[in-house]
């Protein structure tokens, strides 16, 4: 929860490209995305610099493992993990489970995110809606949504439903909060302009409020996606018969630690890819903003 709570205090207009607080997964890919104009060579160099440390660590790890300095049960050697990767891919298991996980996260995000966006728009646009909705939602927001996962399981059972609900709960709040705040922070001076130009209600919404709130809403999308992914991991680890979380659990039960590593790496890679995708989307949609010139 700390992610979106921290974001709440920052006006969305001022936040833009800075990584959200608590988001530690911002690394080399972001560096590539941020400098499109600098050309191929510097992209390669940037990547090489960013990759130097991980490569060194993996090499050291491999070296230590070959000397028998590490316990393969806790730290399987990188080549063992790579082998596990290979066999999970060739057997088709990896993509089967990954597909299921991505599908769940997506459904949960769409359900929770769109309800969050809708209620955020409602509260942002109408004081009445704010008075009715916001106090309750702000109270619920202080409850860590993962803490009520057991309750959700109790209510919805171990099937797909409970997983979707857990993911959707995570996706809901960042979009709700950021949409609401973004709308309330639309520059009053521009509202005066809309008055003087006699914008109708629809034009006011589509030509002023939504474009002005878009940076904040996209920030909400990014945080929602991140929390959807975390919700997915939790939901699948608590109990499931498929998905990347299931692969990890299976690895634990069969003491195939390398499979656990494969699962964790997959979670990390997909999470990073999703984040990069939204950043790309932001760059496309918010190219009018100074801060994106770099």
């Amino acid at each position: 929860m700390s992610i979106e709570q921290a974001e709440l205090r920052l006006p969305p207009a001022a936040v833009p490209p800075a990584p959200p607080i608590g988001d530690t997964r911002t690394g080399s890919i972001q560096a590539i995305v941020k400098k499109p104009a600098s050309g191929w060579k510097s992209i390669v160099i940037d990547t090489a610099i960013g990759a130097a440390l991980p490569v060194l660590i993996v090499a050291l790890w491999q070296w230590a493992a070959e000397r028998g300095w590490t316990n393969p049960l806790f730290f399987p050697a990188p080549d063992v993990i790579a082998d596990a990767f290979g066999s999970l891919i060739s057997s088709g298991e990896l993509f089967h489970h990954l597909g299921i996980s991505v599908w769940r996260a997506l459904i949960g995000f769409v359900v929770g995110g769109s309800v969050g966006l809708l209620l955020g728009l409602l509260s942002g646009l109408s004081r009445k809606a704010e008075y009715v909705l916001d106090p309750s939602l702000q109270m619920l927001r202080t409850v860590p949504h993962l803490a009520i996962a057991p309750l959700v399981l109790l209510w919805f059972g171990f099937g797909e439903q409970s997983k979707i609900v857990i993911i959707a709960l995570g996706a809901f709040f960042p979009l709700y909060v950021n949409t609401f705040v973004a709308i309330r922070n639309v520059d009053n001076k521009l509202f005066d302009v809309a008055k003087v130009l006699a914008f109708g209600r629809a034009k006011l919404l589509f030509r002023l409020v939504l474009p002005a709130a878009l940076p904040g809403i996209l920030l909400g999308v990014r945080l929602s996606l991140a929390l959807s992914w975390i919700g997915l991991v939790v939901a699948e680890l608590i109990g499931s018969q498929s998905g990347v979380g299931f692969l990890i659990n299976l690895g634990k039960q069969t003491s195939a630690t390398e499979d656990i590593f494969v699962g964790v790496i997959i979670f990390a890679i997909v999470g990073k890819l999703v984040d990069s995708f939204v950043r790309l989307l932001e760059r496309k949609l918010l190219h009018w903003r100074e801060s994106f010139e770099g």
């Binding site: 001076k189 521009l190 005066d192 302009v193 008055k195 003087v196 130009l197 006699a198 914008f199 109708g200 034009k203 030509r207 002023l208 474009p211 002005a212 878009l214 918010l286 009018w288 903003r289 100074e290």
Partner: protein, 258 residues
């Protein structure tokens, strides 16, 4: 004389603050002819912005009558263009889309008018630029084009060049006069710069503060384009300054009486 396009009669305006009532305007009477260029000048806090906002229909809580083309002003509308001190462009829209604002450039009529306005405000080549890429003067020209696209009966400008440097400001004054001579839009231009007021106006309305009221109206008959260095310009300047000095004296007396 023709019918005035704008007619203000016995206008009083006060603000209710938690502690007191501030009389911002008192007994304003003003008739503006169609095509006239009026500048309004006065010290800060004398009610210039308040007056402009009332004419724009942005503030309806006043006593008296404000008529545009013989109709009582009932609210903001495109027949009253308004230029703020800052350009207030939509940062996510290009220059041409900012001018179109709520209208669609796909409408050939709008497209044509936007193109001719871009030429009028001398922004050719910047149609697709974003506000952040423009200088202050260029941005203000976009704002003026945006207002003119709607064919306002009157264009209200609240210290529009106040934030610009002296050179840009002088250039903008010329651009605005060009526009006025081309379009004959009625202008009401608020400023606290005496040279600017004389350079632009057919008539200068001098306001005095506490409560804001019209101190005097100075007609300016110098032919355009005016040169600020000429003796006739300077003598007019002294005349306006003189009004202000008398104003300061009465202020002084007022304060002494308190």
């Amino acid at each position: 004389m023709s019918v005035p396009v704008l007619e203000i009669e016995r206008l009083n305006k006060s603000f209710q603050t938690p502690k007191t009532v501030v009389t911002a305007l008192s007994g304003i009477d003003l008739k503006v002819q169609e095509g006239e260029f009026i500048t309004v000048i006065g010290p800060s806090g004398c009610g210039k912005s308040t007056l402009l906002k009332i004419v724009a229909g942005l503030d309806l809580a006043y006593e008296g009558s404000v008529k545009l083309s013989d109709k009582e002003v009932a609210g903001p509308g495109i027949d009253k263009g308004f230029i703020f001190q800052e350009p207030r462009l939509f940062p996510w829209l290009t220059v041409e889309k900012n001018i179109a604002a709520d209208l669609s450039l796909r409408n050939p009529e709008v497209r044509k008018k936007v193109d001719s306005l871009i030429e009028l405000v001398k922004l050719q080549g910047f149609e697709k630029a974003y506000p952040r890429e423009l200088s202050g003067g260029m941005a203000q020209r976009v704002a003026i084009a945006r207002a003119l696209l709607r064919n306002p009966k009157v264009l209200l400008l609240d210290e529009p060049f106040g934030a610009l440097d002296a050179f840009t400001r002088a250039h903008m004054q010329e651009v605005l006069l060009d526009i006025w001579q081309h379009n004959r839009t009625t202008m009401i231009f608020v400023t606290h710069d005496i040279d600017e007021a004389i350079f632009l106006a057919n008539r200068i309305v001098i306001l005095k503060p506490r409560p804001g009221s019209i101190r005097g109206i100075v007609p300016v008959t110098l032919p355009y384009p005016r040169k600020k260095a000429t003796t006739s310009f300077q003598s007019l300047r002294l005349k306006v300054l003189d009004e202000f000095e008398r104003l300061e004296e009465t202020e002084y007396v007022d304060r002494a009486g308190l």
